[in-house]
Structures are given as C-alpha cells and as structure tokens.
Amino acid sequence: MDRKPVIEIQRLSFAYNGFTVLEDVNLTIVDREFICVVGPNGGGKTTLLKLVLGLLRPLRGSVRVFQEPPDNVRHRIGYVPQHAYIDPLFPVTALDVARMGRIRKGRRLGPFNKKDTNAAMNALHTMGLDAFARVPFAALSGGQRQRVLIARALAGDPELLLLDEPTTSLDLHVENQFYETLREINRRLTVVVVSHDVGLVTPFATSVVCVKRHVVIHPTSELSGDKIAELYGTDMLLVRHDHRCSAGGHECRNL
C-alpha cells in the first residue's frame, strides 16, 4: 500500500554543547503507522521527538513533517510529554487541561467557544474520562492524569500523536489497557510512542525504532531478543512478558 509519509528525517545529526546525541539519522514514517521508539536512557529518544516537533533544530540534515518544516505543521501534531514535570497540585479540572489542546497559533483570543469544549469532551470520552471532566487534576490517579494529557493532545484534532514515556507511572494491568486505547486511536492517526518497555508495546506496534545515537527501524516481525540485547548492551537482561498478547501482535504486523 502506498501511504503518505508523515515524518521524513534525512541525514540528521544533533549535538548538545558539542556532545553528539544523534548521528546520521534517516527515518521515514508513513500514515497510520504505530511506531514504538526504544533505546537506553540518554540514547536520544526524547531529543528525536523534540526535533520532530521543531522544538530543537538539527545540527545537520533535515526533518519534514507532512512534507513541511515542523514549525509550519506543529498544530497538526498532538504531543504528550513525560508528565513527571507537571505540578500535580495545579488548580485545574480535567476539562480545563483537555481544552488547552484547543489553543493554537492565530486563535481568536478570549474564552473558548462551544466547539472547543465539545472537542475537549470528545477527547476525554475517547480516553474513557467522561465522568471526570469536572474533577480536579490533583484528585486523579497517575493513570487518569496521563489519560487527561493524551486527551489534551487529541482535543486539537491531530493527525500525528507523539507520546514520550506515557506509561512510566502505570502498573502493568493498566498499561496493557492503555496500549489497547492507543491502538483504537491508531485507526485514525499515526502514533509514535517512546517507551522503555519493549515487550509490552511491540505486540501493538507496526515497527520498532531503536535509538542509540544511531537510529535503526525494525518491522516488529523481525525484532528478536538479539536485536534488543545489541541495542541496550550485552549486560541487558531481557524479560519477555508479551506472550499473552502475541495473537494481537500478528494482526498488527501485517498492517
């Protein structure tokens, strides 16, 4: 099937203060893919996301999103940051947070309109949070907060969803459910998720992108324990816990 490219990265390099983080990255992600980005801490996963968002500029090479520079199309990207740095006691309701996703460049300043509220409510509905719209963010559980942040990203009707370590604070059961929801969302838009948990995501992903200074993309069907060991270094002990999900995994792989 010939699908439109969503993200195209060519010969990209990036360095923080002279320290090379990413080198000679070539990557193409097409419409409706479900990409899992894995790699060791400090390997450049978050940096890669920020380059795609245009929050960072490449040292060399180019990033194109929807065949344009990221700055021009940022409003078409839904972004779910690591929620560790968000103040959990901030006085807002779930609906307030979801509606933040309706903000965009060139919006008429002033209060949100009915359409904005409806879009935010729909996004909360997608994440199974209808009943929590008026609940303070501070009163939600870690998993619910994370879902609110995804609803915020969805409220802006994105065509590409980028998630940075969305499951860090979730327990395993909730985490599985979470990826099921992401798969539902994936029917409508392209999903790129950074995760530390290769085993759990791969059944859902169409491809796994390994980031460790260099970037390699593997279709999930090719991914083996060896590849992962190679990526994380030989000392890495891989615990496989994805057997239960393998039926669903096969379905995804042939997308």
Partner: protein, 283 residues
Amino acid sequence: MSEFVAALREHSFLQYAVGAGLLCSVACGIVGSYVVTRRITYIAGSIAHCVLGGIGAARYVQVVHGWQHLTPFVGAIGASIVSAVIIGIVSLKARQREDTVIGALWAIGMAIGVMFIAATPGYNEDLMSYLFGNILMVSRQDLITVAFLDAVVIGISAMLYNEFLAICFDEEFAQVRGIQVAVYYLVLLCMTAITVVLLATMVGVLMVIALLTLPVAIAGVFARTLKAVMLLSVVLCSLFTTAGIGLSYTTDLPAGATIIVIAGAAYIATIAIRALLCRSVQR
C-alpha cells in the same frame, strides 16, 4: 471597629485608603495567582526591590532638576517595567545561573534607589514610606491611576486567560501549540510589575511579595480551578487590606505591616486547621 467605621465616614483620607486597598486587591488576586502557579515569586520579589531604584531616581530628578511631572510613582512604574523586561530576558537566556543573576539584580535595583534618595537634598523621611508603604497618603488622583492600571491588568488577564493557563500548567506543550511563550512570559512579568507598584503604595516594596502570594496560598487550599483561586484571592486580599487599615487606625500601628501580619496569621491558621482536619479524617 465601630470607631473605625465612624472615622471612615468622616475622613476622606481613610476612604481613599480603603478604596485603594480594594482596587489593588483585584490586580493582586489575579496576578498573584499567575505568579504562584508559574512559580515566579522570586522574580516578582526582584522586580519589587528594583522599583526602589526608579522611585529614588525619579525623586532625585524631581527635586534637583525640577521635573515636576516625574513623580516617584511614575518612576516606580517605569523602573518596574524596565526591570521586568531585563529580569525576564535574563531568566529566559541564563537558565543555569538564573537565581544568581536575579538575586544580584534584586540588590542592585535597591542599592541604586538608596543612593539616589541619599543624594536628594532635603528631608528624606519618604524613604521609609517607600520601603514600608504609606497607604494613608493616597490622594484622589492616585485612586484614579490605580483604577486605570487595574483595568489594564484585568483586561489583559481576561483576554489571555486560556493562554496564560496553558503556559503556567505546561510551558512546553503551550510552545508546541504555537504560543510565543517568551512574549507571553514578558507580558506576564510586566503585569506583575504594575501590580507590584500598586501594592507597594500600600505595604511598601519590602513586603509586596507577602501580599502577592499569601492570599493565593490560602485560596489554593479551597479552590479547584485557577479562576476560583483568583476570585477567592481577590476577596481575601480585600479583607486583609481593609482589616489591616482598620486595625492600624485604631491601634496607631503602621498599616502596611498590619496588613501583612493579618495575611500571615490567616495563612498559618488555614494550614493549621487543614492539618488538624486531615488528621481527624485519617483517624
């Protein structure tokens, strides 16, 4: 208390003082909520102390060079805006050393003010009122100025409420949504600067920070949305300033300090009651 109410009917200077307190409380509650949630209390403190530099410079020029229109209030507004922009740019650029640079600007602004005031010939009793406030000196003209600046702060906040909310909650996300985060940040600091000057007329530059943050800290215990925090802060701030002026009139203590002590006591009481309630719930 009845003594104060009777005096309030009689003396216009008390009416102006209470009026100024109520008007300032509006800006205080709104901007204070942003300052606390965006965690820039330290930056607001630095702006407040730099204001003294503007007051001193304006007083000097007014007395020595006879520029009658350059009142200390005008100097304060000018210095607050200039220092807000400088501090804002510094904090955006010097991420690593932000606290060092802002701490230094804090003292430098104040030092400039002290030097100018010392160099100004004549009776310099005024210095104390700039440092600790003198709400009983408010004139009718001041009241109009305060109302105008209030309107500016309310107007900007109402128009940019959602954008400010998004930035205070999660700056990076706001940036991804295409908001010029740096521009909004500077606008927020300028609003803070104006509010700081308004409050400084009441409680002086040294105690501004307490009045900006204490009502919000109390409101934060009860309110669940930023709008509610703002409303409650405005109400609390109005109560504190009015009660402070009343108490200072009857006890003949300085109004600024009295206001701050009342606000502080209310905050401590709130925290203590909450702690007790939480404990009894756990049992």
